[in-house]
Amino acid sequence: MATDAIKDVPAARLVPLFLVCLASIAYEIALTRFFAIASWSEYGYWVISMTMAGLAASGVVASLFSRLLIRSLPVLLPSLPILMLLAASLGWVWVTVVPFNPLELQNKQLWYDQLLNIAQYYAAIFPFFFMVGLYLSAYFVHYSHRIGRVYAFDLAGAGLGAALLLALMFVVHPFWLVPCLLPVLALAACLEMSSVWPRSRVRIAALATLVVSVVAALFLGQARINEYKEVFAPMNTQDARVLATVTSPKGLYQLLDNFTERLDTDISNNPDVMAGATMPRAYGLYADGNRLAALPRTTDVDTRYFAAALDALPYRLRPPERTLLLGAAGGFRIHEALRAGATRVVTLEPDDALRRALLRGIGPAPAFPADQRVTIRDTSPLATRVVARDGPFDVIDITREFLGQSDTNRAALSVEVLGDYVGMLKPGGTLSIPVSIREFTVYAVKMFGTAREGLRRAGIAEPDKHIVIYRSAWNVRILLSATPWTPEAIAELEKFCDERSFDVVFPPARQGVKRTVFNELPVVSFDVTQAQPPGSDPLSEEANAGVAGQASPYHAFFKLEPPSIDRPYFHAVLPLTRVETILDRIELVPREELVYLINLAVLAQALVIATLVLLMPLMTRRGTALPIGRFAKSAVYFAGLGLGFLTLEIYLIEKASQYLHDRVFAFGLVLAMMLVCSGAGSLLAERVRDRPRTWLGVAVLTVLVWCGVAFIWLDPLLIATATEPFAVKIAILVAVALPVSVALGMPMALGLSQFQGVRLAFLPWAWAVNGACSIISTPLANLLAVSVGLKSLLLLGAALYAIVVFTLPADRVAAK
């Protein structure tokens, strides 16, 4: 089996590789979905890390034992897919039985056990991805003379794997995705050539293993929704029923009926304001085990309770004739607005499942009754130019549920978007913004400053005259107006709060007037808490400072910069440079912030892995070792490609998520498209491998020009086309990403093609370096986007590609 003797590589030879790559990326995404449901989505980052650890390790092993690898190819190639089948199945079973409780990670006395559980996850997943990496390495060294072609099949398989899984998620329950992928691996085994065993024997072995693997995955796996998720308790009440289930890439939606399901809104604790009204019974709609909304059981809702609701004030300050709702609260808020006197209610409900529930109903939950006063749109809240066509409005009401439903919804709290909404108000109209303060007050403090900047963005010179803030014990409402608040409106605010035992936070009380504080709220920070005298309200002090643009008196520890379109993160308040203090106070950290700590942990781990992989050539024997100059150039080259590719990919995923308003779909689409197009780029590189420097220059120039164009024009383009049909938006994204994706596929193939003959052993190493650095760039790009902004990813990506132009390891050693 002379490695370089085969001069051409027919496509049929590469089909097994294509299938293995397809199955492996689909397996990775399926695991990410499992983690999102079984624990929480932020733990999906571990999967990426585990995957890359397996792949990187295999590259190192393949490099160190390259001769053995080459000798073993006739055995390895047909047997590895069969072993992968078993590893995928048993790994899945193991993953589902690990008793991981993510909540215990935040307890300083319990986290150790959970680290052991995470180690179990690594042990379960590592073998599969190690074998995938070994298989890829085997192909690389076997067909090194056609490396561009091999790499193209690798990327195309991975891209189509992402697309396949995206499609599967529309019809298959997330817990059944892995068994669906096993036949792909069996097919790869069946198609694999073998010079050692008869093909029929390989096929029988593959089919027998497939049967065993599928049976194990189906019957031994114990995948279930985490018992600490919101759906668990209602699901286990007497006579609880799941009335409808919808599977989609965005989530596993379940409609529940049980006695706990009621409208859940913040209301006054004073019984006389409720006047005997009760909170209406409802159905509960859950996504991945998290409560999404309460849905009315009937088309007619008794909304008398709304008089006691914290959210009701904007509807009392003036007749809410023309009302814009960001989120319908399952439909309840539309009923409430209509009863409050609205004659026109425009509702933005970009979540597909919720909008369909409103328009068509779901299970026994009825659709919102036809009413010519009501319009329900799928428009993104960021498409403010389109939304403005329905204005101007008396009330713009952002519902609490809306902000809880997705991070793309929370992007509506960016300074630019809030400024645009203020611009849509009629004189005297109100923009109402909710913030929870139940566990943590810092988000309210962050919003005080954001509201001020939003008003300034709308051209208001004295924001303090345009803001009122009030609260219950658990929630704050910030009301913005395009015109200064009148004394009558302030008096109505004070009366409203006094009757309901709510507290006015801003404006401060008139001189000589003392307000009763009904809900005492000591401010909690990480480094400071001060005893406040009874009757004081430190949140008022915070509001005074925030509205005036001054430093926070109690929350200076946190990052309080207002979110923007380029940094649309409502959460992300932890200063990660002070990680020691954060870990010391880990039990106070809200779940929304954990994702950044997990990114930090994954980054630390990735740096260790990448360092080990990078230094591996130092372990090789003399004679075959790379000269130090070439080693350094190769390391920088492949590390730069790994970092640069993922940095730009994450930028595009973030932009596509906002644009399509569906993070999982955007992730799958961008991943599939970039990988397939990069595969095309790799094929192209194969044709021009004789002039690697020239074509590397062309590819990098394309990347740099694309980054520059995207920096200036991508945001305006996406905003201008935000209301186009979904299919058109996908076409626009494809058109945007295609040129850069093709260009991104070329440098890797051109670089790998430089390792031939005695340097062949470094081919898997180069690939492993690239993979290891990809793990670094995933958390690094996330942290950079949160800290600096998304556009910084474009700059970083461009800089990395600019560097690789000068480090191509092109002093080719002739094959002997």
Binding site: N107, E227, F259, D264, Q530
Partner: protein, 283 residues
């Protein structure tokens, strides 16, 4: 040893002076392995401890009593004798049981580093220091009655039952509520009354209302019927907020004034371990 003696004296003195419920201790007296086994069997639960392990737990129990007393004194300046007596009378190892897995982990009771324990069905037995903090915060008095929303392991309502005249508890998770309902009688805690079902409406059959209500709440509002059942002037309602495996949850204390108006206060005392600097002024 000195402090143990003093603690015991305080507890016994308080018990005698404050007219405790008739069966102040399980089986009206000592608590030994045989009684433990009998109570576990009577509550239809598996037994995981042998006598030697049980004896080891009992030795840790004495130490835990001192830890609790010091903890409460650190947090409140004084440790409430009612709360201490209740702690002394409720055998915590009996509540260390996982109902979903049907196994007993009583052997780990009175752990030196108090922390929450999973008991199955998404429920947790909170750490004993946090529970005792909540108990003292609620200021239970003899003759009062208490309502707990979310029975969980049954430990918190058992503690309250040792001081209050009557202790009611509602659990919404059916399999957990049904299993835990069986554990009180074998201890002789006859003043604990439980049910499984909708907790939103509280316990309207108790016409006089409640002095203490403890609510495990995930909703955006306190159910109005619960506030209605809080006694004006003296009633206090306590809500721990946050995920159950944090040792130090946020606590909200609601009170109803004589006019029926509700006031709330976020209590951060349990939240903050003693620290130097400004944090130490937190309480």
């Amino acid at each position: 040893m000195v402090s143990l003696t003093r603690r015991t004296l305080i507890a016994q003195g308080a018990a005698a002076a404050l007219a405790a419920p008739a069966l102040a201790q399980p089986y009206g007296g000592g608590w030994d392995y045989d009684q433990y086994v009998a109570a576990m069997r009577a509550s239809e639960r598996r037994i995981g401890m042998n006598k030697a392990t049980f004896d080891g737990v009992m030795r840790r129990r004495d130490q835990a009593l001192r830890i609790v007393e010091n903890y409460l004194r650190g947090k409140f300046r004084e440790a409430d004798p009612h709360s201490l007596r209740a702690y002394a009378e409720v055998p915590r190892e009996y509540f260390h049981y996982n109902y979903a897995g049907a196994f007993d982990f009583g052997a780990s009771a009175y752990e030196g580093n108090a922390h929450p324990w999973a008991i199955g069905y998404g429920s947790a037995l909170s750490d004993y220091l946090g529970q005792m903090y909540m108990t003292q915060l609620s200021r239970p008095q003899p003759g009062e009655n208490a309502l707990e929303i979310g029975t969980g392991s049954g430990y918190q309502i058992s503690i309250l039952s040792r001081v209050c005249a009557k202790a009611y508890s509602i659990e919404i998770i059916e399999p957990l509520g049904r299993a835990v309902a069986k554990i009180f009688k074998p201890l002789g805690f006859d003043n604990v009354i439980t049910k499984v079902g909708d907790d939103y409406f509280g316990w309207p059959e108790e016409k006089e209302g409640f002095d203490i209500i403890m609510v495990t709440c995930v909703a955006q509002h306190v159910p109005p019927p619960l506030l209605a059942q809080l006694k004006p002037g003296t009633g206090r309602l306590i809500i721990p907020v946050g995920q159950p495996f944090r040792r130090e949850q946020v606590l909200y204390v609601y009170t109803k004034d004589k006019d029926g108006k509700i006031h709330s206060r976020r209590d951060v005392g349990v939240y903050f371990i003693p620290m130097t600097g400004r944090i130490s002024q937190g309480r």
